[in-house]
């Protein structure tokens, strides 16, 4: 789900960086220092999720769970995800400094959007909650892949078909993300509902 360095052109890189900066700024503004530890730990947990490989077909994929973070943190997910990506960049060197803007936008943007739209469903019945979980996982991943394909296409029209291929190949992953986010939401609602801002 990362675009590596050296693929995108300047306008795309700059556009992504500007939007990510704006999103992060909004997220930081809504985050007071009392919550900084919670966001830090969730950011670290998001990083850990990216180390979890689940089997899909004959291979395996690593989790993203941006939608989940969006549901929990709302706008706060933006800086949290950017920080986690930065950590990945320095630990593993994929998707480093220059593409951080675009990657941040691709992953955090949809996560926050899905979180903000779907969070109210969490308070509903069990079915609604499960639907919210599934959609948060599926849609945020779908939008991320779409944005990624868009960034490739904007950089070079010749990437059109490769980008389409990338999008299609992510479909099973989106489904898995949806299922896992749904189960995690169900888990949290039962074990510690206040994480989802629900009453005990």
């Amino acid at each position: 789900m990362h675009i590596s360095e050296g693929v995108l052109t300047a306008p795309v890189l700059i556009g992504g960086a500007a939007l990510t900066a704006a999103g992060t700024a909004v997220g930081l503004k809504k985050l007071d220092y009392d919550r900084i530890m919670t966001v830090s730990l969730l950011s670290a947990a998001f990083f850990v999720a990216s180390l979890i490989h689940v089997p899909v077909g004959p291979g395996s994929v690593h989790l993203l769970l941006g939608g989940l973070l969006g549901l929990i943190l709302g706008w706060g997910a933006f800086p949290a995800i950017v920080v986690a990506l930065l950590l990945q960049a320095v630990f593993f060197q994929y998707g480093g400094m220059v593409v951080l803007g675009v990657n941040g936008l691709n992953i955090a943007g949809p996560a926050v959007l899905c979180g903000l739209v779907l969070a109210r469903w969490l308070k509903g019945s069990r079915k609604e909650r499960m639907a919210a979980g599934f959609l948060a996982g599926f849609c945020s991943m779908f939008l991320s892949a779409l944005l990624m394909a868009g960034a490739l296409f904007l950089s070079d029209q010749g990437f059109l078909r490769a980008a389409g291929l990338l999008l299609a190949s992510h479909l099973p992953v989106m489904f898995i993300e949806g299922v896992i986010t749904m189960f995690v939401v169900g888990f949290l609602a039962r074990v510690q509902p206040e994480i989802l801002s629900l009453d005990t």
């Binding site: 830090s40 730990l41 670290a44 689940v54 089997p55 950590l87 060197q93 994929y94 400094m97 490769a162």
Partner: protein
């Protein structure tokens, strides 16, 4: 386990001030990321490769890193020649191979690896802790910098917590497969990790309050760059200028 294997060592690169390294890395990667010239990309790749050699990375680890980053370029090599289109097309048996596609894949491979080498030489030789402080000094918003440093500190604890739970699952006969049971189990393992993180956050926050924290984070003095650092910076900036200037000769 998450580690910072390249940060251990005592070469020229390890001793440099992080801020200097961050600026240098930014300059070189920017030039490489934006170029569309083969000459710039290949010269850059060679130069950063030399820098990397000077930082003496462990060869086996290095190869693994390069391999994992090049998975994406491999994808491009496999798809672009077939999908890129453009003018120059050669037919090879029944396949239409786009030369433009090949060219693009090659260029991206050079750029990606050049930037990777630069990263490994300049940034991976610092710990994340130092990079975080460096970024803050260079104007990263303070809240974001602390977010980075705090999550860095807790990362290891959380990862270990997850691994212990995963081990417990394995001991109870859990073998991952393509099944709902598998996905549910992973969700529970991660969900429990989240719950623990959430509760730990509260305790750590209490620890901060107990030490007089009242909503303002005050940084501790960090060492200042010395003369060698400035010389190093000038050298690195010259390299990036040289690279940027190649097309104009």
């Amino acid at each position: 386990m998450i580690e910072e294997p390249f940060a251990e060592g005592n070469t020229l690169f390890h001793r440099r001030d992080t801020r200097v390294k961050l600026i240098a890395a930014a300059a070189i990667t920017l030039v490489l990321a934006l170029t569309s010239s083969f000459l710039v990309a290949s010269t850059g790749c060679i130069l950063t490769g030399m820098l990397l050699a000077l930082s003496r990375p462990t060869p086996s680890l290095l190869l693994r890193r390069i391999g994992s980053v090049n998975l994406f370029t491999l994808f491009l090599w496999l798809t672009l020649p077939l999908t890129y289109g453009g003018d120059k097309i050669v037919s090879f048996f029944f396949l239409d191979i786009s030369l433009d596609g090949l060219r693009t894949a090659a260029l991206i491979t050079l750029k990606t690896n050049g930037i990777l080498f630069c990263f490994l030489a300049l940034l991976a030789t610092s710990t994340v802790a130092n990079l975080g402080h460096g970024l803050e000094k260079l104007g990263m918003p303070r809240k974001l910098a602390f977010l980075l440093l705090f999550s860095y500190r807790q990362l290891f604890v959380i990862h270990q917590e997850y691994q212990r739970l995963q081990r417990a699952a394995r001991l109870r006969g859990f073998a991952p497969s393509n099944s709902l049971h598998t996905y549910r189990t992973y969700s529970y393992l991660f969900g429990m990790t989240l719950v623990k993180s959430w509760n730990r956050a509260e305790r750590v926050h209490q620890a901060m309050i107990l030490r007089g924290f009242n909503g303002r984070l005050i940084p501790l003095n960090q060492p200042q760059p010395c003369r060698e650092d400035y010389l190093f910076l000038i050298g690195m900036l010259l390299i990036s200028l040289l690279l940027a200037g190649i097309p104009f000769f």
